[in-house]
């Protein structure tokens, strides 16, 4: 017995208050004058004694209330042996069903060992079954029903997620906090090293959790070859042209493997297109080029396979999807007097390697007769005036999923507001004239956000000279690039389902010399691909990644349903989810067919995370540390389930503090209720008298 916060016992002095109120204050009665005491008699003996008894009961209740309250805050505890709380113990059986457990018979071994553990434990014990992938999934409630538990273990199927011990630690910490009772955690896993979180503390359990590891592999390293990655375009356009053949590159990696020759195969829609023999160095990786990706029109399901003949077959294939379509049209709207911008942008698009957009230059007057939805994206360049109906159509086009690139120029300065983008023109900066008295007559790029798809592969911008830029007002757009004076150069704003890219300088080689630099072509190409929506989806994703289905839901607009068909041909979204879900988690390996809210269809190849391909096991020292053992010097042998149960019974009873706070608070509540009742009874007697 002890107190966790003994300083609170000083509050016991508060018991003096009711004593003062009851005993001391009661005698300070002021005599009342009365006309005559002729008819009164001294009768204090019987009546006052009775009243005192009642007061003493009330006094003792009030004292008890204060004492219990002080005790509750002092947080008393008793040391209880583990045996005494064993009845409340929860046994949590966690079977690892991540993708690495597909190797050999790991999952089957884990399930068999878990079933043996259930046999070793009595049917009366509370046991909960869970699986561990990217998250901890509880399959049952804490139950003493042996049939339910065994059925749950039998139902465990191998998954495609990468396991995470960090996620296990987080989930068990939450459970243990909520339960407050001892938890015995049995983990049946291959204890893959790559499942460790970056910080070891993320996988540490609280004090009331006892971890028992059940490794399903021995300490030997398992060799494994995998197709680590494939670099391939998500979309190709038109018919293949000589000199512009689209190729792909696959990376074959070996983990704990000897040097070996592997056969890599490219298959499109189930048909083998090309085969390559490659020499994979020991524990290394090699790049395999496939020079021609000749896919038919529409979506194609492409796979790069290797004949690894290792235990883990899930990573021997890499899925990706490629769409071939006619070259999309892009609309270039410019002022009638500006003939330089379409020239530079058109040439840059024609020079691009993997884009085949057909650029259609029109003047602002001609744009009024066009339907923007026919174009993959629209470029507004140096537009001085734009008819209101054209801008209105463009805004609708963007809200419906279209994308627009707005390039400012000297003519566009005449406008107070940037068309479609919406923000006000704050200031036009002409550096050639502003800085004429200084040494610089131009500005350079100050910073650039390479994570944005429009600039990620654009190379060096440092030599580009900017003579003119427009500063826009406060905006909620993402700034992709800034000049050295912090003027935003490239901004990306999401409006409805679409995006608007704003280039605050021009493409006419007057406001800057960007069109003359080599980085102009990849910038235009990347921007065109981003605006056309190609770069957004890509062709391959990793299991447990998310695909964005729609932008922000506008309650004023009618909800358009999305559609997803998983690799098994099922629709995982309900009708409600299809109408409201903004993103979807890709949980299985295979090809997903997606129709987004803007009507665009996509095919996505989903592959297991290749970090799971390294089947290296946690070092025994780390395992010992995880189990909470102090000395990690001696090797820790795997503990058999039956042995664990026996050891649990024969072990020294461990004393743990058991807090009595809750019971003290219950007594406080009871005393408070009793005191209220008694006091109200007393008051009611007074009321009757009055």
């Amino acid at each position: 017995m002890g107190f966790l916060a003994p300083w609170f016992l000083a509050g016991m002095a508060a018991v003096g208050l009711p004593i003062y109120l009851h005993l001391l204050r009661r005698h300070a009665t002021t005599p009342r004058p009365f006309s005559s005491l002729l008819f009164f008699e001294r009768r204090q003996q019987s009546s006052i004694r009775h009243r005192r008894l009642r007061y003493l009961l009330l006094l003792s209740l009030r004292l008890a209330l204060l004492v219990l309250l002080v005790l509750a805050f002092a947080n008393p505890f008793v040391n209880r042996t583990a045996a005494s709380v064993a009845a409340d113990k929860l046994t949590l059986v966690v079977v690892d069903d991540s993708v690495s457990m597909r190797a050999g018979s790991r999952l089957a071994d884990a399930k068999r060992q878990a079933a043996s553990l259930l046999s070793a434990h009595g049917p009366a014990e509370r046991i909960q079954i869970a699986t561990l992938g990217a998250e901890l999934h509880l399959l049952t409630q804490p139950s003493d029903d042996d049939t339910t538990r065994r059925a749950a273990i039998a139902s465990i199927e191998p998954g495609d997620s990468r396991g995470s011990f960090g996620e296990l630690g987080r989930a068990v910490r939450l459970m243990a906090d909520g339960l407050g009772t001892p938890v015995e955690l049995h983990l049946f896993s291959d204890l893959q090293r790559s499942k460790m979180p970056p910080s070891f503390t993320d996988m540490v359990f609280p004090a009331n959790v006892t971890l028992v590891l059940h490794p399903v592999v021995d300490g030997a390293r398992a060799p494994n070859w995998a197709v680590e990655s494939v670099t391939a375009p998500g979309q190709v356009w038109g018919t293949p042209q000589p000199g512009k053949a689209v190729g792909i590159q696959a990376v074959i990696a070996g983990y704990s493997t000897p040097e070996a020759t592997r056969t890599a195969t490219l298959a499109i829609n189930g048909k083998t297109i090309a085969t390559r023999m490659v020499q994979v160095p020991a524990g290394g990786r090699v790049t395999v080029p496939f020079p021609s990706l000749d896919v038919p029109y529409g979506f194609s399901r492409c796979e790069v396979k290797i004949d690894s003949a290792d235990a883990l077959a899930a990573d021997d294939v890499y899925r990706f999807a490629v769409e071939r379509s006619d070259p999309p049209k892009a609309l270039f709207v410019h002022a009638a007097i500006d003939s330089r911008s379409p020239l530079y942008v058109g040439n840059a698009m024609a020079a691009a390697a993997q884009s085949a957009f057909v650029l259609q230059p029109v003047t602002t007057e001609q744009a009024a007769n066009l339907r923007f939805s026919d174009y993959a994206f629209v470029i507004l360049s140096n537009v001085a005036s734009l008819p209101a109906e054209v801008e209105s159509d463009l805004v609708k086009y963007v809200r419906g999923g279209g994308n627009v690139l707005v390039a400012m120029g000297t003519a566009a300065v005449k406008r107070a507001r940037i068309p479609v983008f919406g923000d006000a023109v704050q200031e036009a900066r002409n550096y050639g004239s502003d800085l004429s008295n200084g040494q610089e007559r131009f500005l350079s790029i100050g910073e650039i956000d390479r994570s944005h798809p429009s600039v990620d592969k654009t190379g060096n911008w440092s030599d580009v000279r900017f003579y003119f830029a427009v500063r826009v007002g406060a905006t909620d757009a993402r700034v992709v690039a800034r000049l050295t004076d912090q003027t935003p150069l490239l901004l990306d704003k999401k409006i409805g389902e679409g995006h608007v890219l704003l280039f605050t300088s021009g493409f006419d080689n007057l406001t800057n010399d960007l069109p003359l630099h080599p980085t102009f072509v990849p910038f235009i190409e990347e921007s065109a691909q981003y605006l056309a929506g190609v770069a957004r989806t890509g062709g391959a994703r990793v299991v447990d990644s998310f695909v964005e289905l729609r932008g922000q839901i506008d309650p004023r607009e009618t909800l358009v349903g999305v559609e997803i068909i998983d690799p098994n041909g099922r629709r995982p979204l309900s009708l409600t989810e299809a109408a409201t879900a903004q993103s979807f988690r890709l949980t299985q390996a295979g090809f997903y067919q997606v129709r987004m809210s803007n009507g665009r269809r996509d095919l996505i190849g989903v592959n297991p995370d290749r970090r799971a391909s390294n089947l290296e096991v946690l070092p025994t020292e780390v395992q010992a540390l995880w189990r909470g053992e102090r000395s990690a010097s001696s090797p820790v042998p795997p503990v058999a389930p039956v042995a664990v149960a026996a050891a649990g019974q024969a072990a020294e009873p461990v004393k743990k503090p058991f807090s009595l706070w809750w019971y003290a608070m219950l007594l406080v509540l009871a005393a408070a209720l009793l005191e209220s009742w008694l006091a109200s009874r007393y008051l009611s007697v007074q009321a009757e008298e009055s």
């Binding site: 005599p31 009342r32 006309s35 005559s36 009546s47 006052i48 007074q686 008298e689």
Partner: protein, 296 residues
């Protein structure tokens, strides 16, 4: 039609007993049916032969039935009477539980009766203020300014000392030789046989004696929230009493005391009237005069 009465606490807010008396008397007289029989001079005096124009209501029809002659009853009031108020000004009369002390209430009663006697009846009125001896005596008179003198005497009557009926009444018997109405206003805390025995001699000269017993509601039905120490206002004796006792035994005792006093007073040929200070003054006066009228 319901009669609206004057709350004693409202009267306490008025300045000047003359105004209070006028308000009370005018108020309740105005509320009465027209009747010639209200007043203090209600004793039969003689018969007078009827002459045309006399009020037929005064014809004694019994005599007419026997003699077939019409005679009118004449009352002594028409020949003037005398009202003497004996006001107890002992300390116990200071007691109050609701803003109007028994002394104030007694003053209002006395002032109202003086006003009624002098203004309405043209009777002589006098005042005796006493505690354990006579402290003030204003001889009954109908002289000019008598009402003002009486009201001034009432104003000066401040409670003090203890009550002792014997000594002042011995003195008073010397003064009260002319027949009249003697009103004694007191809280009568004492032994009822002794009180009656002491007061009874006032009747011997043919006086009509009326006891106005003034009590505070707390004296009749005391309530205490907790055991309380009480101090006797006359003897300064202290006593701790309990709510239970006040609730049960005290009430029995005070009820018995009131009943005994009432019985003995009436048995001795005197009138007894209980006044509680929380009751409207004009209502009490009206009730008293109504009863008195019925008796005559």
């Amino acid at each position: 039609m319901s009669q609206r009465f004057l709350n004693p606490e409202v009267l306490a807010g008025m300045s000047g007993l003359d105004l209070i008396a006028k308000t009370v008397v005018d108020g309740f007289v105005a509320g009465l049916h027209r009747s010639p029989d209200f007043g203090f001079s209600q004793e039969f005096a003689e018969y007078r032969a009827y002459s045309p124009g006399d009020d037929l209501r005064h014809v004694d029809w019994n005599v007419f039935a026997r003699t077939e002659r019409a005679y009118l009853k004449r009352y002594r009031g028409e020949t003037n009477s005398q009202l003497t108020v004996l006001l107890d000004a002992s300390n116990s009369m200071q007691f109050t539980s609701h803003g109007v002390s028994k002394m104030d209430y007694a003053r209002y009663i006395a002032a109202s009766l003086f006003y009624l006697a002098i203004h309405s009846q043209r009777d002589a009125a006098g005042l005796v203020v006493f505690d354990d001896e006579v402290r003030n005596y204003i001889r009954p008179s109908t002289r000019q300014g008598q009402l003002a003198r009486l009201l001034g005497g009432l104003e000066l009557a401040e409670p003090r000392a203890r009550t002792n009926f014997a000594k002042p009444i011995d003195h008073l018997r010397e003064f009260l030789r002319r027949r009249g109405v003697v009103l004694m206003i007191s809280d009568f805390f004492g032994d009822p046989p002794q009180i009656v025995r002491t007061i009874e001699p006032l009747r011997f000269h043919g006086n009509e004696v009326v006891l106005f017993h003034v009590l505070d509601p707390q004296e009749v039905r005391p309530t205490f929230r907790e055991p309380t120490v009480l101090v006797d206002m006359e003897t300064s004796e202290e006593m701790e009493v309990t709510p239970d006792y006040a609730e049960r035994e005290y009430r029995g005792k005070i009820d018995a005391h009131l009943a005994d006093l009432r019985t003995r007073t009436r048995g001795a040929g005197m009138d007894y009237f209980l006044l509680q200070t929380d009751r409207p003054l004009d209502a009490m006066l009206r009730e008293y005069l109504t009863i008195r009228q019925g008796r005559n």
